[in-house]
Symmetry: C2
Subunit: 253 residues, 2 copies
Amino acid sequence: MLTKEQLIEYSEDARKNYLDHISIDCVVFGFHEGQMKVLLLKPQDEEKWLLPGGFVMKAEPIEMAANRILEERTGLDKIFLQQFHIFGDPDRAKFHHDLYKDTVPDQQNWFAKRFLSIGYYALVDFFGVVPQADQFSELCTWRDLDDMPGLLLDHELIFKTALDTLRLQLNYQPIGYNLMPREFTMPELQKLYETILDKKLDRRNFQRRILGFGILNRAEQPRKGGAHKAPYLYSFDLDKYQNALTEGFKGGW
Amino acid sequence: MLTKEQLIEYSEDARKNYLDHISIDCVVFGFHEGQMKVLLLKPQDEEKWLLPGGFVMKAEPIEMAANRILEERTGLDKIFLQQFHIFGDPDRAKFHHDLYKDTVPDQQNWFAKRFLSIGYYALVDFFGVVPQADQFSELCTWRDLDDMPGLLLDHELIFKTALDTLRLQLNYQPIGYNLMPREFTMPELQKLYETILDKKLDRRNFQRRILGFGILNRAEQPRKGGAHKAPYLYSFDLDKYQNALTEGFKGGW
DNA sequence: AACAATGGTGTATAAAGTACACAATTGTAA
DNA sequence: TTACAATTGTGTACTTTATACACCATTGTT
């Protein structure tokens, strides 16, 4: 929790630089060891957590704002971002207002405003991220999708909406380039799909379908060294992948 | 075009009642005589047209704002609305700013601000709508989808995005309840789909697919009186329709 | 050498999508 | 009255896609 003075200083700064009433919240997905991860912040002196978020500078395109905000949290630039919804309930963000309402007048508290929040989801390379807390938080870290803590404000809703959108996208767009390492095996990619969809897929049918999309290149050499049969390594054909992103697939899972 | 005084008065009013920096633009689709229609406004002294739009009151949920704005333009209440994107380019709405920049100082011109616009599309009953121009416009009327005039600002982009979204929704959601009269024939419904998708569909396969969704009731009596064979009349089963809206279909066209 | 675990490939079957044919009804023209 | 065009209802063969399941190959372990 900020001191009264810190809050007022932050507020003055924000009033100068940021658009009123607009915030951005991001659901950052990563994938590691067969687990879907979400980047979360733990505010100081709070039980519940928050999605990484921020504000839009007065002359900044919103997509650029989302990128800037996530670069601060992850160290990554040029993140794959997808705007998915705007959350505009008048009471969605009374939290910071209530927190300080007795000590700081609303005029001086940037957070006392009503905020509409633009929801972005991001797909990022787990290993590329160096989580970095912001000034309100004591912790910024990955959390497993099936071990999510409670979230403040309406961030549960934002998260859930992002996940639903991602699942829908899976039906008509390729997913994975931003989440997988450069080279990966078919079972690894399948695990990603299974994690996002939260259900088992048939190994053989998955392989046929994915290969049918025609966006993968198979490496000459299989991966050696592990136990069991050596699996082939695949990588995304970026040209065809980008094309599939724009054109879209048919059908559903 | 407003006079200087009108603009200043409007601006004072708006500053009091509306959220800064946020606007709403709506793409209202109707269907009549086998043609897809969009509700457009023709501003005074302008060649190009605009989508109906407005602002969000300080304590008003955004969905309610969209509803209020459209009620003013159409006379309809409880409109089927779908938020589909937020348009946030910093330069997207410099139009009204430029128009008055020499006569009204930015401080007094509500339109001189930067606006992020929330895009909603609406599906409405063509006959239920009584188009009503706003104070900036000389005309509010339906335009054919294939006879669209030029649009101001980024409204071409907003319109196009809405149409793309609608086409996508067609793949996994029922469409039609809000666009068709209570009773309609299968060829009439097919025409709606063909118009939205802008392509011919096979009559027999369309019928099978639509009936397969299980959201239609067939009336006892076919429609009499027309030339040619009397077609059956169908209506949507609202319960099943609503359920399909939530649950969604599979596959694509 | 047998075995468990994993991965690659194939095949039979079911479901869905596509293409097309034919019969029924109704108004119009000959 | 009859032939015809236009429109609608229904069926059927074919193709493509989805699903379920079987078999073999490779590698480390026992």
